[in-house]
Symmetry: C4
Subunit: 262 residues, 4 copies
């Protein structure tokens, strides 16, 4: 540690720049999306429980509660906490996206360069595939992917994803674009936009919010897992772009807000 000054200067050498500005962020995208998908895939219930619509009888309060706990409250808490944990765990390492929709949002706000967009998304998908592979191997059973049935209301899922994913990006930009942001519970609030988004999407079959995280399980499960999978990618990225434009237009700090530049 005697040569600390040398090492910080190292950051400015050609090799240091490649590591800290390219390799480390890409490795972090891979690792954070791996963790997100690993935690989620390991915690998921082993198989989809009976669908109430097939029961042909009145559903009891107890059945509603059991279903809401397993496919609403617990996944929402698990994923919501995970997003916040990844933000604060890597806070001093680099800005981590672990979600193509977040990358789209940073593209719009100008905080991510175009040439890094594709490498980021590729590392996210690879991390998710690797996590799904490990999770499926450890559990010894097929993972349950984000499955959209043939009779699902696709426009409703699309618009719900646009709004709920868009809000994640709105919150992320509000705390990253505004350099004066100083609320200690801010990163937890970003995570809990996922909590709210999963509860909001539950009853209509939406609540993906991150296409890369669900790309991994889809690759492992195959077949019907690809049913309308593209809808998740399009809806989440379109929602990210719309809400990023909305934030930058009216809510960004005075020196960057677009409405002032007209």
């Amino acid at each position: 540690m005697g040569n600390k000054k040398n090492e910080i200067q190292w950051k400015e050498t050609p090799k240091g720049k490649i590591f800290f500005q390219l390799l480390l962020p890409l490795l972090a995208e891979f690792f954070t999306t791996f963790l997100h998908t690993f935690w989620g895939s390991m915690a998921g219930i082993p198989s989809t429980p009976t669908h109430f619509s097939a029961l042909n009888r009145t559903v009891t309060t107890q059945e509603w509660a059991a279903d809401y706990l397993l496919s609403g409250l617990v996944p929402a808490m698990q994923a919501g906490f995970a997003v916040w944990m990844l933000i604060v765990g890597f806070f001093k390492i680099c800005v981590v996206h672990f979600n193509p929709a977040i990358s789209v949002g940073f593209l719009v706000s100008g905080d991510l360069s175009f040439k890094l967009f594709l490498p980021y998304v590729i590392m996210q998908c690879m991390g998710a595939i690797f996590a799904a592979f490990i999770a499926q191997t450890l559990r010894g059973e097929m993972l349950v992917p984000f499955y959209i049935s043939d009779d699902a209301n696709i426009p409703a899922i699309f618009f719900c994803e646009v709004i709920t994913t868009g809000i994640i990006i709105f919150y992320t930009l509000a705390m990253v674009v505004d350099k004066s942001y100083d609320q200690a519970t801010g990163p937890l609030a970003i995570g809990m936009t996922v909590f709210q988004g999963i509860l909001a999407g539950k009853w209509i079959g939406a609540g993906c919010l991150n296409p890369a995280r669900w790309f991994g399980p889809a690759v492992m499960a195959g077949g019907k897992a690809w049913n309308y999978h593209w809808v998740l990618w399009v809806a989440d990225c379109v929602g990210a772009a719309i809400f990023a434009v909305f934030y930058m237009s009216f809510f960004a700090p005075a020196d960057r807000v677009w409405v002032m530049k007209i």
Copy 2:
């Protein structure tokens, strides 16, 4: 960004003042109440489960637990987290109320001018109506409004709302009026006054705490949703006024506390 100084000066131009002091806060009221109502309406269970009083038998522990989870714990966590998230998400944009009772509290403390009160409440109601419309369209079924039955104990609901909504305003003022307030978990504590308020109101049919948030679903549902709806508005605003006076009289910082001015 080279003209940053110019843009900050822009804030002081006539057009800048109109945007930052009037249009932005009103847009934020609309958007935050939209989010609050959207998240809540999307997460709510599709239909009211069987009422235990109609069962004519001993209610089992499992039925109590299922009911408490669906109509107590989950709505309390969902709404409590939402209130905190709206506070910290818009922290650097502007002070957001998204609740007519909060606006009443700020009127009493002198932190909101009288001429802005009505525009604020109108934007809140419009945001809630728009959210309820979107949620009902996406879900394709009638939203469950805040329903007060004909045989409800109206005085009990009224006084419970006065206390629980009043505490929200007490907490809000304690953290906004006192400029030296510095606890990082303070905004989360404001949100959790809603968590406590919903659990407190559950067994007697109270727990509204925000008349604008429930005005939207009432407009969409119509009919019996308007049953005693005015009680929620009166109780919540009266509670806000009482607890704002209570806070300002005894608990405000030494330079503003009313007991010192007599």
Copy 3:
């Protein structure tokens, strides 16, 4: 507000001293213990569910889960959050105890004068009684007090209360005695010692942790609610004293730790 300087000087006048050093803390004790007891009494389930021991058959997983949710998880979250909320809500007003055991702890550490101890405990009990009266009136049914049955294992309850209540005091002193304490989630951790204490006491019938908060419902319910009620007072205050001595002896900051003064 032009006479702000005058008003701060007012704090040093005889009338100002009486208000800020005596009346305000006593009012705060009354109000915080009122809130604690009100929230808890309103959220409690209406009646004790069937005791499993009376069932004379194997208890199913679903029955365990329902019981744990109603009498473990939800009360623990409700009370744990409430304690943290009262600390941060009144952070800039004055140090609030709302628990005789905390007052005992501050007596031991020297942060509460002997002559204020009794007035504090009286205000706590009055706040709890008033809250229990309001809650019972609003709900229109008997509150469920902290009931110790005749066949309870009193020594086990006693020692469990000593440890779990003692830890609350240990945490409180660690954050109040050490003036350099700076963790933003510290007050939430104090609150969650109650969460852990209620879960720890659940299976053996302990988990009171605050005799004043349960004194109110006992006054309203009467009769068997007084069964061994004194055990709660003795155990919680003894636990507070033991853990306060333990903290001050070994864990207090270097300038106050007792082991250094021998």
Copy 4:
């Protein structure tokens, strides 16, 4: 308190050094591991519920939900909160490990000297044994240990423990090695790595994450509690070492990261 200067100098005397650099940290290891094991052992359900695999019929949604609540969600919240609480409660006293795997991680990063490693682990085990003894005495029934059945998938448990325990160490180092770390919710995120780890391990029988915490109940229960117990020790310490090397190699701050030293 007039001799405060003397007492701080006392820290540098031979006796003061022994207390603050050796006895206090060892006492803190004993006490924190005691608390962790005590809270966990007291909160656990009294006996293992029926295993679904023995039911020979389709498991209902309600049974899944009850099982997940009792053996997934509640233990994960209880232990996750406990870890965070121990970190922030002892924040100004000394760095507490209360987990042999954390001690291994600090060995790798160079933040714990080799000669302190064994004393730390011994104090951790003694704290856990004492807590298990107290908990078993208070509850008057056998504690449920971390039981690995003979037909368990040992390699899956091993690798799951390596990853989930490793992530705890990764998070701990990211917040301790990097002296500029400043996120207020960071310690809570460390705790929630345990929340995620328990949910991740639930379905395959993993989720120990701390061999000392489960050593205590194993000593008290004996017999089949020792089944594959060594796997937990080896997997958790190996995972800690691997992820500590991973963190130090690529993610540590520029002046300590190993990749820069090649």
